[in-house]
């Protein structure tokens, strides 16, 4: 009850301040258009944003406090704000470097790049380097159990908390270096997710365009088939197929991972199919498609030369999103134990293995960081991919700010 009451009072105070803010603005600037035509909602928004910012600032100060109870309460917020500032600076520096190094065309690219995109590009680059050179960068092997090392899940390598400076992110329950496993995880999870998404787009995209161009029975058969596949909950379907595949893989001697890529690709291609078909149907009615048909062009030329270039924008947007979903599906399957198999390092499995430590968040936030490291790696890449895709969309659609 008091909570509701407090909320109402807070809102009333914000509303009053907003009204006063607008009035002051009108009075102070001699009725300048921006204050004169400001609606109350906008004024309210400004004040609300200010309140939130002030609260964030206070919380950040509190997270640095020497009182551990207070500091713990705002620990994660502090980490997030630090991360935000650090990444912003890194992205800005990266863009600065890009603007002065490289060929004329890449410099021009960096000049028009927004900060979010340069952040995305930077993160993707870092991930790519980590994934490709994992073997050279990681100090230990992904399945290397270090003898005589106590399990130590607290990152930071602080000996006072039982850490060891040799393992900056700690070691897991059976004595494997977490940092090495994170780096190898990039290779396994990202590589597989990328391959799967590409495959899903190839299958879904080409069939979708085919359905759009040919229409009639082909369209009916393909679309109804996709409807059937989509009617089954995708995760459960994937689980079911993975269980079957695990039998086959040992019999046929094909790694389970190959089956996983195929299964997720097929299930995900249904969404791509629908998009490609819808986009394709809008394009096939254009006169230039009719002109190409009347010229006697074949199906391959129609789909890949006439339609595909005009469908890249929505497909790219979908690619960013779909990549993240595939990524999460793989993590989920691994979490459930049928995805990437141990001892291969994988972020989903790593979250599962240390998920119990989340419970420590209240009194020992650093201990709870362990599962969040892998989860954060997933989240960071997801955000980065979407930033880059947004920017590419913006460029390809030719929209101006």
């Amino acid at each position: 009850m008091s909570f509701i009451f407090g909320t109402i009072i807070c809102l009333a105070i914000i509303a009053g301040t907003a009204w006063a803010f607008r009035r002051l603005g009108q009075y102070g600037t001699g009725n300048a258009p921006q204050y004169r035509d400001m609606s109350f909602g906008v004024a309210f928004g400004y004040v609300l944003a200010l309140v939130v910012l002030v609260w964030l600032g206070l919380a950040y100060v509190a997270s640095l406090s020497s009182n551990t109870v207070v500091a713990n309460k705002f620990f994660f917020l502090g980490v997030a704000i630090n991360g935000f500032i650090l990444f912003s600076i890194a992205a800005w520096l990266f863009r600065m470097i890009g603007r002065h190094v490289g060929t004329e065309s890449t410099r021009k690219l960096f000049r028009v790049m927004p900060l979010t995109a340069s952040f995305g590009v930077l993160i993707i680059l870092v991930y790519a380097i980590l994934a490709i050179f994992a073997g050279a960068i990681a100090p230990y092997g992904q399945d290397e159990i270090l003898q005589g090392v106590a399990a130590n899940i607290i990152p930071g390598g602080d000996p006072a908390l039982g850490g060891d400076p040799a393992f900056p992110l700690g070691t897991d329950q059976i004595g494997r270096d977490i940092m090495s496993r994170l780096i190898y995880g990039a290779q396994n999870t990202v590589g597989i997710a990328f391959a799967t998404t590409l495959l899903a787009f190839f299958i879904g995209g080409s069939l979708g365009f085919l359905a759009a161009v040919v229409g009639g029975w082909t369209d009916q058969i393909l679309s109804r088939g996709v409807d059937v596949l989509m009617a089954i909950p995708s995760l459960i379907f994937a689980l079911l197929l993975m269980t079957i595949a695990s039998v086959w893989s040992s019999r046929l001697g094909i790694p389970l991972t190959v089956f996983m890529v195929l299964i997720i690709a097929v299930i995900d291609s249904t969404r791509v199919f629908r998009l490609a078909r819808a986009v394709g149907q809008n394009i096939v009615v254009m006169d230039y498609i009719e002109a190409a048909k009347l010229r006697g062009e074949g199906m391959w030329y129609l789909v890949f030369r006439e339609i595909l270039p005009n469908a890249t924008a929505p497909l790219l947007a979908e690619f960013g999103l779909r990549f993240c979903f595939v990524f999460l599906t793989i993590a989920a399957l691994s979490f459930l134990g049928v995805g990437i198999q141990p001892p291969l390092a994988d972020w989903g499995t790593m979250v599962r293995d240390s998920a119990a430590f989340i419970n420590f968040a209240q009194f020992a936030p650093k201990a709870a960081l362990t599962p969040l490291l892998a989860a954060g790696a997933i989240a960071l890449l997801t955000v980065a991919v979407n930033f880059v895709v947004d920017w590419m969309l913006h460029r390809s659609s030719g929209l101006k700010e």
Partner: protein, 548 residues
């Protein structure tokens, strides 16, 4: 208190392109008295629409007013607060957009959109406004005025929708209406109905209007004054009659002269010669509804056959049958005496090559992701098997033929060209196949008069050089007069009249041909009034109803 309603002084507008501000309108002045109609003409890109919107104190995204003033009835619209403008727009100033079909919300009934203005501005209650809307529909001579408002926009025709939009603009009885090309997308016969009803209602309510168009004949009927714009500069302003009889500027004279283009008559076709394309007694249907009935005509080498008729008359369907996109249900089509398979998929590459098509909307006819070079090179490679240097040389030759500089245009994308240039690329793509026969489907109807004339002259020159035969689909009889050798008039899927141009333009006519011919606006400012009287209606606008 003077009777000046709108006064624009030294208005400069700038538009943003590639992060630079470039001028669009350079210091235009404009005064409009109450009840006066001003015609604003110029080719596309002249800034007509931008100026029209600026008269409402509004700028599109990426456009800004750099200086000048817009004063409406003593209120400065550029500095007025949002609240003041809200009170004016829709209530005292209204806007009629070019494409009513795109401007109505397809999810709401027409009357629901009509009453929005009056109820929002508290001019009338909903019931009053509905009744008033029906009265306006009746005044604008919409069929079933009591019921038409309760339909959705897709359930009425384009011309009716355009009138419904005019009614909507009238809903609050504004002092000023801005008409942005309200009849450009309509047929001549429909255009008359809309023109007459607009003129009628503007006069009845003593509304001032700015009428934006690129059609001089239309503006001559509608306006008291004419202002000519060229690339954002005012060329001249004068009273309609003065302007038409004695234009002072070179540019205005050139605009007036466009309609004079006409090709010399050709000798009649030798009897017994084999036509390059012959349409023989074809019937066609979309699903179960039959759209073509026993259509036959011949097209000979080096000649142009114009197929005219209003929309829905089946002229484009004939083209679809000739190309093989739509299979005929009876009859046949032969090229040079040889019968063609009805389905384009069954035709050989060489048969496909002989028929090429140029489309009405150059925007959708060119793949926006391919460069001009690629677009033209494809048929060259596909049909003639040229590659490498030979292909490039052929494309360059084609670009020369359509009067575009090859080195400059080869790598451009369609979006970097103007409408007329895009249409030229369409022509080049058709020529690249080295056809004998080209179907031109309303190729000039989306273009300004000057540009359209350029295209017509180019087509005429190409025909003389390459002995092409054209099938020219159009609803614009001025175009027919300019380019055709023979004319086929169609109505409701039947050929109503056919013959050489000379015969077609001299009486006696089939009554439908007569209606079409008399509906073409003429430069004479009294033309509409005279025509309406001639058609036996004393009041303006009633003529529209006396359809066949």
């Amino acid at each position: 208190m003077t009777d000046t309603l709108l006064e624009i002084c030294g208005l400069w507008l700038e538009g943003q392109s590639e992060e630079k501000w470039k001028p669009i309108i350079n210091g235009v002045d404009l005064t409009l008295k109450k009840g006066e109609v001003l015609g604003l003409i110029g080719e596309s890109g002249a800034g007509k629409s931008t100026l029209g919107l600026a008269a409402m104190g509004f700028c599109r995204d990426g456009v800004r007013i750099s200086h000048g003033s817009v004063e409406f009835d003593g209120i400065d619209l550029l500095t007025a607060s949002a609240a003041v403008k809200r009170g004016l727009l829709g209530k005292r100033i209204a806007y009629v957009a070019q494409s009513a079909a795109a401007s109505f919300n397809p999810a709401h009934r027409i009357i629901d959109q009509h009453v929005e203005g009056p109820t929002q501005h508290r001019v009338m209650s909903r019931t009053e406004s509905e009744a008033d809307g029906m009265a306006l529909y009746a005044k604008l001579r919409l069929p079933n005025p009591d019921q038409i408002g309760f339909r959705y926009p897709h359930q009425v025709s384009g011309g009716q929708l355009q009138r419904a939009m005019t009614a909507m603009a009238m809903a609050c009885r504004p002092d000023l209406i801005i008409f942005d090309e309200p009849t450009t997308a309509l047929d001549v016969t429909t255009q008359i109905e809309v023109l007459a009803s607009i003129r009628d209602i503007v006069k009845d309510f003593n509304t001032a209007a700015i009428y934006i168009t690129h059609d001089l004949a239309v503006v001559a009927q509608m306006s008291d004054k004419i202002k000519v714009l060229l690339k954002g500069d005012e060329v001249e302003t004068a009273d309609t009659r003065t302007m038409l009889s004695a234009p002072t500027q070179e540019y205005t004279k050139s605009l007036w002269a466009v309609r004079s283009f006409e090709r010399p008559l050709k000798s009649p076709v030798v009897v017994g010669s084999i036509p390059s394309v012959s349409v023989q007694n074809i019937d066609a249907a979309y699903g179960k509804s039959k759209v073509l009935f026993d259509v036959s005509f011949d097209m000979h080498e080096g000649r142009t056959v114009a197929v005219v008729g209003e929309s829905g008359s089946g002229k484009s369907t004939v083209a679809r049958c000739i190309t093989g996109l739509l299979q005929t249900t009876a009859g046949q089509i032969s090229f040079g005496g040889e019968v063609m398979p009805a389905n384009y998929r069954k035709r050989t590459k060489d048969q496909l090559r002989q028929v090429q098509m140029i489309y009405q909307m150059a925007d959708t006819a060119l793949n926006p992701r391919m460069s001009i070079g690629e677009i033209i090179a494809r048929p060259v490679q596909f049909y003639l098997g040229l590659t490498g240097k030979a292909k490039r040389a052929r494309v360059d030759a084609l670009l020369d033929q359509i009067e575009l500089e090859p080195s400059e245009y080869y790598n451009r994308l369609p979006s970097e060209l103007s409408g007329g240039q895009k249409q030229r690329i369409g022509i080049a793509r058709a020529l690249a196949a080295e056809p004998k026969f080209i179907i031109c489907d309303e190729v000039t109807s989306a273009l300004d008069q000057l540009v359209a004339e350029g295209i017509l002259r180019l087509l005429a020159k190409l025909q003389d050089d390459l002995k092409l035969s054209y099938m020219f689909i159009t609803h614009d009889l001025a175009t027919v007069r300019a380019i055709a050798d023979e004319v086929v008039v169609m109505k409701d899927g039947r050929v109503v009249e056919a013959g050489p141009k000379k015969e077609m333009f001299t009486p006696p006519h089939h009554p439908y041909t007569d209606l079409l011919l008399s509906s073409v606006p003429e430069m004479d400012p009294d033309w509409l009034t005279n025509l309406l009287q001639e058609r036996g209606v004393d009041n303006i606008g009633d003529a529209a109803v006396c359809k066949m």
